[in-house]
């Protein structure tokens, strides 16, 4: 699974991208647990961030494929 961190999430993770050696799909909740285990600074951001997989926002019930891409997206500020 390819993980992308953006903006404050990249600051908290200390990197912009990462590979996770997972073989099963992850729920959004499992995804966050793993992300926070690796980068505890992400815990404070979790309430404000959304997760996207393959360029689509995910809702709580959805899963991320093991060979998919997942991105942590802080509140946006474009324009």
């Amino acid at each position: 699974m390819t993980i992308l961190y953006f903006a404050q999430a990249a600051d908290a993770a200390g990197c912009a991208t990462e590979e996770w050696p997972v073989t099963l799909p992850l729920s959004v909740d499992e995804f966050w647990q793993e992300a926070i285990r690796r980068h505890p600074g992400l815990a404070a951001l979790r309430p404000h961030c959304r997760i996207a997989s393959d360029c689509q926002y995910l809702t709580e019930g959805q899963q991320i494929a093991p060979d998919g891409e997942a991105a942590i997206l802080p509140p946006v500020s474009g324009g």
């Binding site: 953006f6 903006a7 360029c55 689509q56 946006v76 500020s77 474009g78 324009g79």
Partner: protein, 126 residues
């Protein structure tokens, strides 16, 4: 309906079309201002999740087309470090009538600021 979206690291340029069959062209350009959070700055750095930003802009425009109708939409957003006074975004809607064109530009900007994965990540102090 024509939709053109560009998310780029280069300076933006949206040349006027010479001959437009629509009656109304509404355009918004968002410029980097010399102050950010009360500090004087010389540039602002934007970061974006580029493929998703492009796709989300398309989705928003398609949905606005369903609601309001328009003839064409052109959107450009710049990423990277943008000097003060230069454009971060240009949105142009052409439509038969003025009201629809304005409404679409305005609603597009509102939705961009909620859903399009682009961030102001750093102000360069002057």
């Amino acid at each position: 309906m024509i939709i053109e979206v560009l998310v780029t690291n280069s300076p933006l340029a949206l040349p006027d079309k010479n001959h437009i069959p629509s009656g109304a062209v509404a355009r918004f350009t968002g410029i980097v201002r010399p102050e950010e959070n009360d500090a004087q700055i010389s540039a602002l750095t934007y970061e974006g999740y580029e493929p998703m930003a492009t796709q989300t802009i398309h989705h928003i425009l398609t949905s606005l087309h369903r609601d309001y109708g328009f003839d064409s939409a052109r959107v450009q957003h710049r990423l990277g470090t943008i000097p003060v006074g230069e454009a971060a975004i240009i949105v142009e809607i052409t439509s038969k009538h003025r009201a629809a064109a304005f409404t679409v530009v305005s609603e597009f900007m509102d939705r961009l600021k909620v859903d399009v994965p682009i961030w102001k990540v750093k102000a360069v102090r002057s």
